[in-house]
Amino acid sequence: MRTVLLILKKDLRHLWVLAILGVLFSFLSTLGWYWDLWPRSSGMLVFVVSQIAPVVVLFVLSVAIVQSDPPVGDRAFWRTRPISPGLLLSAKLLLLFLVFAVPSLAVNAYLAVSLDTPLRVALGMVIESTGMIAVESLVFAMIGSVTRSMMQAVAATLAAFLVVVAATVLVPLPLFFAPWRMDLPDHAARMASIGLFSGLAAIGLVVHQYATRRLARTLVLGAVLIPAVLACASHWPLSIPMPQAASELQAKPGTSDSVQVMLIPPVVTWSVGYMNDPATGRSVRSHTMALNAALRSIPEGRIIQIESISSAMRFGDAQPLPLEQIGREFWPYWSSVAQATAVCRQLGLQPPALPADAVKQPRLRLFNVPDETAVAHKGEKGTLTATLKLYELQFRDLARMPALSGSRWTHDGQMWRIRRMAIEQGKVVATLQHLRATSVLITEGAARPDSRPDQYRFALALINRSRGEFALGYHSWSSMDAPQWTIDINTRNAEFTEFWKMGGSPIAVPTDGSWLEGAELVILAAEPVGYFDKQVVLRDFEIPQVADRPEADAPPYWQ
């Protein structure tokens, strides 16, 4: 232990400037956003300071710590001194832990406490961020351990990057080479597995290099080990034993029976698009036909959304032929009228009379059939089955705070703070900041990191109870401020342009700030309250052929 401390002390004395920078950037890159330190006008500078610089410092310091007593070459000072490779490596790892993992742990613990984060989410944040930085620093340390100088380490990193880019371009790589993809069903497990296995591979290589000092063998081992562990982690994602929140889903709502799925004209839509060719893994241009439908008989004030659609054709006794599902971003979303009605119902207000939405909703397309598939089954009649998994969303009170600049609300891993609230040009404008603790290890609830828009839809209301008046807000635009792993920060700008009496009659927009002083801002969050299935079955259905399409160049289906 004494040897470890002596080496650690020596390295700290040598690299103290970088170590301080490492700690500083660990704090700033996350807390800078939380403390709102970054000037909004200096986007590139902020990006460099908060995103690039921490990675550069992490790289330089990890490599420098290892290379101050390098395990390559025959000139290293420690090789002829009473310093064992194991103790030397322990000292290096301990320093990396102190400089990177400890600040990350402290920052995330501080954030978790500040955002009143539930213990399981806080645990996820700490494990994810500390684990992530530990894996990164281990990978950089591994690069440092097989190179002799910082220049070599930079060159090796660039070369590795180029190899990955070239491989990605030249070879249709399986999904494990894209761990940043969030749209996979087991994304969190995949990320955690890749992180864990990469860390193990990196530390295995570093230990091997320190123990044997045989560079060529370490490189060969790395060439075998790194793709192997990535493939293993991708194909067999670990199940994450994180405690999950109690399910928020309730019993199926009574509305499910009344909701109907109806085919709507034009039943068939043709389009030209790009489909994934399973044979090559590449996108190919293809004609596709889609079957159009709509949800009908939704009770007033209810919001029904689609979770998934699985469709298949069965020809005789053959195996069902699965049909490709359209991405959820092209499904219809609820109207502003439906939202206003749902919000008022939740707040106990009389919904005002609102005009129907002018924005045309996209059609509900059940599935796509590529032209090649259609041709293959030309003239065959079969049974089409489309199963829609639907859920009902409800707006619930999330936050209430005085409608004044500087107000904030914190609960359950989330914070809302009002940066600005003012009456300007005949409307009330608000700039709000929403901070959310999140972790890939959390797969349910508000801390889930993915960005499904309907799961994080918020509604805003201003209520002045003393005056018996209210307004509903509309987002004008929003932006993601902090592209961080464990804290999601969004700025949301909202406008309140129409005001009503609580009975529902419209009033003029207030012009005096005293209206806001007596008002509260209510933020409501859309949450799923129950799931149910609906099925569409078409017997003796024949897939239309591209030759039957009415127009040569029909517009894309999203128009």
């Binding site: 040897t3 020596k10 040598h14 390098p70 000072f77 090789r79 009473p82 103790l87």
Partner: protein, 303 residues
């Protein structure tokens, strides 16, 4: 007992045999000079001994432990100073010594202080700001202060100016018996410098150990012989064993190197080959001996 043992030790880099199946034993308590031209394999041999490189063939041991099994604790008994060795250059001399001290239970603070004065080292100057000679002295000091049983110096005089070199050697020579490591191994291509230090020498060329014997014995058996006759003289054919580099600059003069000269009667023995001629025999410096050996070695084995 030998401090160093090598058996069939070899190391190749691709096709180059840097050390070629070498057998060597260095007795404990000796000052062994490993000599040879640049690229002879001296540094490689020392690195093999200290497990800085792995052997391609054979084995070696240092202070009774197999080189490939040397542990950290074994380096409390071994000192190593090499030209080009990485040092923590950002440290001052005193910081460097302070860093080294805790690793050695036998570290002698007084000896370190004495050597600092003797080597005229500026304690507060970073190693990176020291001249090459001063840096070597600092490294040597850090290797002597814990009184190792074995001190290995790899090309310690390389690039040093004569004054610093002399200073360095003087420093080693002036070490009192208690302060000196028991066994020294010094590699150098600069033979003059180690001549006054070594009591045992080895000559390495092309990875092969051509000679290994006490320096005095080596100097004793090599002589430069000149034969001048009143009438023409001629070299016997074939040359007697041990006669090297025989030349006949004129018909009355013959010169050669005798590598098997017997101090008692050697001159008479040579004179008997050249009746009536005047034979003069001249002792040789190690430098001259090794030049002869190096020239003779081209394509030949050990002498």
């Amino acid at each position: 007992m030998n401090a160093i043992e090598c058996e069939n030790l070899g190391r190749s880099f691709g096709r180059l045999e840097a050390v070629d199946r070498l057998d060597l034993g260095v007795p404990a308590g000796s000052f062994f000079a490993l000599l040879g031209p640049n690229g002879a394999g001296k540094s490689t041999l020392l690195k093999l001994l200290l497990n800085l490189l792995r052997p391609s063939t054979g084995t070696s041991s240092v202070l009774g432990r197999k080189s490939t099994s040397l542990r950290a604790v074994d380096f409390q008994r071994i000192g190593y100073v090499a030209d080009g060795q990485d040092l923590p250059d950002w440290m001052t001399v005193s910081e460097f010594l302070g860093f080294c001290r805790p690793f050695y239970p036998t570290w002698d603070k007084d000896l370190a202080a004495r050597l600092t004065v003797q080597f005229d080292l500026p304690s507060d100057r970073p190693l990176s700001k020291l001249s090459r000679g001063m840096r070597m002295k600092a490294a040597l000091l850090s290797g002597l202060a814990y009184r190792p049983e074995l001190m290995v110096l790899d090309e310690p005089f390389g690039g040093l100016d004569p004054l610093v070199r002399d200073d360095f050697i003087q420093g080693l020579l002036e070490l009192p018996g208690d302060d000196r490591p028991r066994t020294f191994i010094v590699s150098s291509h600069d033979i003059d410098e180690v001549e006054r230090l070594a009591d045992d020498v080895g000559f390495l060329a092309g990875g092969r150990l051509l000679v290994h014997e006490p320096a005095d014995a080596l100097r004793g058996r090599f002589r430069l012989v000149e034969v001048v006759g009143g009438a023409p003289v001629s070299l016997p054919s074939p040359l007697p064993s041990g006669w090297l580099e025989a030349k006949q600059p004129s018909e009355n003069v013959v010169r050669f190197v005798c590598s098997s000269f017997e101090p008692s009667g050697g001159e008479v023995q040579i004179a008997s080959v050249f009746p009536g001629a005047q034979v003069s025999v001249q002792a040789m410096m190690l430098q001259e001996i090794f030049l002869v050996l190096a020239r003779m070695n081209r394509g030949k084995g050990a002498l």
